[in-house]
């Protein structure tokens, strides 16, 4: 029998702890257990055999840390081959007459993925792929990915398994005592993400005992439509008289596990501290358990790495602002690769209360695949909202889906055969909830009935790809009523039918309905209300529109979706007008100010600085404002900082206020009448280093002083830095390194810069650097802080001119 069939019809008993037993046989902490497959095969084999004899159906190979980060290719192949040999020997010599299978065990790499670690997602996929390919080649029955404490790494491992073998895959995560993964995901979230990608069983192991894992088990069972795996520790380890003791016995363990089986878990085993005795007790105790039936949970859920949005709860708001259509300033940001602008749009919309961010960065003149990937990964570093990946480019969509951490929303598919054939395989492979537009080869039908027909066709086609209708959200396409008076009614009627007759969720882009009319918000708000009343599940909206938000919170309150009208009351203020939300920062010395704007910047008032700049732009030349008010304010604060009368936080607050003022000036000039400054300053944290606070501060101040700062981010290889400097003919390049271990990377970068771009002046900074050190590694300048960098940069530019 193959494992998939066995899993479908049986309670599966896994094995127990391996590390603890190897340690008892002499494995030292810090020694690689995987090497014992080769050096002590008889010990490894006998442990596996003990587990089979105790009643395990599945034994996991001794390959937890067998990956190419730790071992050479040659070693890796040898280790995995021996590990499988050992397991096979155990299987063939075991006295047990149960069905027996061998799982290739995959543990975490021990490295954290970008953006918070240094391991690239694709590199992680490759590392897992290598192990899995070897395992599949030498023959195992299934893959078990276990003890993963990061959702993103889990995704990399599962993707590697799906791309490199046809074996069933069990995925098990290590949850902390707060019931979350180290990187923040809940069991429900992991179910959504892993089921979407096609995991065959999903569960939890390690870190906790069976008692503490029960709440995790419960949440998994509530959400999963596949078998649930529970593989706890033997309680928690304690040191008693210098001996390690786990706090529950084999019998207690089995008793707790029986309860978990009765709750519905179907794949059971043990982790750290459990032994063949535990498994033998477990197997006996659950021998007569009635196999619980797995019910299909029809939940439409999208997630980030830490937040889930469930379409069955309340109507979902999708922020539409990350989209260049009709936005000059946004287009400019895209062309200039100004990711920060995109990120601030994301964060601002989150503060306005949206649940999902739509991300569309499509413009003909840019490389959409690269930009969408950066936008998605960088947004995920600053916002915990799920994203809706919105693109018509298939390569861009695939790349974004691949790099996305969680289960995304995908915008969109439609009823055209060709389109479905392109989109559905991606939805199936990466998971996601896809927005389906009710149009096909013949365009958008005039009648609601025909739009429903297209929806039916989409559902049936999706089914052929193995995509359930719960993962499709229909958009019945709002069209302007200025062109066709019944269009809003048709859209709403179609959505009601899809909701009631097909049992599917719906979504609409609200604002199209008012195209060509004055005071569009009025129409949009009412249309939104009508759609919500007809069962609309989600809407792509502008969260800055008071009418939309008013409608949303009122509807929720009126429909008993807002207890005590809490959300309504909390948001009521924002319905009137944008309220001035002043920061209460005050500079700590009295002074005379040359202008109101100068004063606002010195005091660090962000909103006020923006407002005053807007006002000034009506009468003054932008350059006069920059030189007369903004720069003079920054100089005042900068001098104060250097004289130690102003502290760093205050310097930054002023810099942020100045940035808001600049933002107004940039929007004003977005028409392209003025040429951006060509004083390029390329800045980066060097390869291997992931600290960037210092670099970010320098960047902010340089921007304030009018430099065109190109921020390459952190952990940047020398070649990338040099390429950018050469491409821009940048006169200046700033490098940051915080650790002694990354200064060599700085030295290498400086060397390469001197060789390839000799015109470029280099300035370096960071905790471990000193003037002498900087000179030794060949930097033109060591700057002790951000202000010194600014002064140096100004000097260079002045001399160049």
């Amino acid at each position: 029998m193959n494992f998939s069939d066995f899993l479908r019809n049986n309670l599966v008993i896994l094995d127990g702890g391996l590390g603890t037993l190897l340690q008892a046989k002499g494995l030292k902490p810090g020694e690689f257990p995987e090497l014992w497959n080769i050096t002590n095969p008889q010990i490894v084999t006998s442990i596996h055999k003990d587990y089979f004899d105790a009643g395990s159906n599945v034994v996991c190979t001794n390959t937890f840390g067998a990956n190419s980060l730790k071992f050479s290719d040659e070693e890796l192949e040898k280790i995995i081959k021996s590990a499988i040999d050992n397991a096979n020997k155990a299987k063939n010599t075991s006295s047990s007459n149960k069905d027996k299978f061998i799982a290739l065990d995959i543990g975490p790499t021990g490295r954290l993925l970008k953006p918070f670690g240094d391991l690239d997602f694709e590199e992680a996929v490759n590392i897992f792929a290598k192990t899995i390919k070897i395992g599949a080649e030498y023959g195992v029955d299934l893959i078990i990915i276990e003890t993963m404490n990061d959702s993103y790494e889990t995704k990399a491992a599962l993707l590697a398994a799906k791309e490199n073998c046809n074996l069933p895959v069990i995925v098990s995560n290590a949850y902390g005592s707060d019931g979350k993964l180290m990187t923040g995901a809940s069991p429900a979230l992991m179910v959504a993400m892993l089921e979407g990608m096609g995991a065959d069983a999903i569960g939890a192991n390690c870190s906790l005992g069976p008692k503490q894992l029960k709440t995790v088990a419960e949440e998994l069972l509530e959400n999963a439509s596949v078998p649930v795996v529970i593989k706890p520790n033997a309680g928690l380890p304690k040191s008693i008289n210098n001996k390690t003791v786990y706090d529950i016995s084999a019998e207690e363990f089995a008793k707790e596990m029986l309860e978990i089986a009765d709750m519905g878990a179907r794949v059971l085993g043990g982790c750290c501290g459990t032994t063949p005795e535990f498994i033998s007790n477990l197997a006996k105790k659950t021998k007569n358990s009635v196999l619980s039936e797995i019910t299909k949970k029809d939940r439409t859920v999208v997630t980030s790495y830490t937040k889930t949005v469930d379409f069955n709860n309340i109507p979902v708001l999708i922020g539409e602002r990350i989209n260049p259509t009709g936005k000059k300033r946004f287009k400019k940001a895209l062309i200039e690769n100004d990711i920060d602008y995109i990120l601030s749009e994301g964060v601002a919309q989150q503060e306005k209360g949206v649940h999902i961010l739509d991300v569309n960065v499509g413009l003909p003149e840019i490389n959409e695949t690269d930009l969408l990937k950066s936008a998605v990964t960088e947004l995920q570093a600053v916002s915990d909202l799920p994203l809706q990946i919105d693109t018509s480019s298939i390569p861009a969509m695939e790349t974004a889906l691949r790099y996305y951490n969680g289960k995304p929303m995908i915008n969109s598919v439609n009823g055209k055969e060709e389109n479905m054939a392109q989109i559905f395989p991606l939805v199936k492979k990466y998971g996601g909830v896809v927005v389906a537009l009710t149009l096909d080869e013949n365009g958008i039908p005039d009648s609601a009935e025909q739009r429903v027909k297209i929806a039916e066709k989409i559902i049936n086609t999706a089914k052929k790809y193995g995509i359930d209708k719960k993962d499709i959200v229909f958009d019945t396409l709002a069209m302007t009523i200025s062109a066709e008076k019944t269009s809003a009614l048709t859209t709403i009627s179609a959505l009601a039918k899809i909701k009631n007759e097909l049992g599917c969720h719906t979504s609409l882009g609200i604002s199209n309905v008012s195209f060509g009319l004055p005071q569009r918000d009025a129409i949009n708000g009412t249309f939104f209300a009508l759609a919500l009343q007809s069962g609309l599940s989600a809407a792509i909206i502008n969260p800055y529109s008071a009418d939309i938000m008013k409608t949303y919170y009122s509807f929720k309150a009126l429909s008993a979706l807002d207890d005590n009208c809490k959300d309504y009351i909390e948001n009521a203020d924002s319905f009137i007008t944008a309220v001035q939300n002043q920061q209460t920062a005050v500079a700590n010395q009295p002074r005379e100010f040359s202008s109101e704007l100068q004063k606002a910047i010195i005091k660090g008032f962000k909103e006020k600085s923006a407002e005053l700049t807007k006002e000034l732009l009506k009468t003054s030349n932008p350059l006069d404002i920059v030189n007369g008010d903004i720069i003079s304010a920054l100089d005042v604060v900068g001098i104060g900082f250097e004289n130690k009368t102003v502290y760093l936080p205050q310097l930054l607050m002023s810099a942020e206020a100045a940035k808001c003022a600049f933002e107004e000036i940039k929007s004003f000039m977005a028409d392209g009448k003025t040429k951006p400054s060509d004083d390029y300053f390329v800045i980066a944290t060097v390869k291997g280093d992931i600290h960037d606070i210092g670099k970010n501060i320098v960047k902010l101040l340089l921007q304030n002083y009018g430099f065109n700062v190109v921020d390459l981010g952190k952990d940047v290889p020398p070649e990338i830095i040099v390429r950018k400097v050469a491409e821009l003919k940048a006169p200046l390049c700033g490098l940051s390194a915080l650790m002694t271990t990354t200064v060599p990377a700085m030295e290498k970068t400086l060397e390469l810069l001197k060789k390839e771009t000799p015109w470029c002046k280099t300035v370096v900074g960071g905790a471990v650097l000193t003037e002498e050190y900087a000179e030794k590694i060949g930097a033109d300048k060591y700057a002790k802080d951000a202000m010194e960098t600014v002064r140096y940069a100004k000097e260079i530019i002045k001399n160049n001119k």
Binding site: G30, G117, T244, E656, I693, N696, A767
Partner: protein, 221 residues
Amino acid sequence: MSRTVLTHTYKSIPICEKEIFRYLGYKTVPDYAKSLLYECLSEIENHLSYKVCYLELPIKIKDNVCDFELFCVSSKDLANNLKNCKKAVLFAATIGMEIDRYIAKYGKISPTKALMFEALGSERIESLCDKFCQDIKHNSGVNLKPRFSPGYGDLPLDIQQNIFSVLDCNRKIGLTLNGSLIMSPSKSVTAFTGISENDTGADFSKCSLCNKTNCEFRGNV
């Protein structure tokens, strides 16, 4: 001797505001800085976790080589720190991933707050280590030497690799080490603390061991 790495999770650790403002460079603390700190604290409070994993190790010191049985390291300063100790506790501590997310997020939208979160995170992890060492001292009635981390004095960062494999940091507390020996989550510490039977050994200053001679805080600690 117990060879199993033990873990401990703290629910909360008392805050030392003074230390946070010291990191920020304040000599006198204005009100706006205090309110900014409280704002940041209220945002992150429920997202911090305080985890430690640790192992007791025997020590033999000879010619500046510290032999911990599971691995050796050559370091004059560590040997000096652990002088007269027969055992040491090796530990790794972290306040978790979330603080890095806040720092990254505000790094993009408000560097002032990012800076505040940096200072706050540094204080949190230092306070966690202090609390952990206090508890060890308190629970076992031993004297502890001041904790000593890779990068202090001449103790090389390479030793992180040994520490990570011995403590199994990833599995125990979710801590990872990257290719440049930098830890993620960033607000994390690994350290040795010597168990001393006869002296309190508080005879060293971190500053005197540090190579960063241009540091503003030098000598103030």
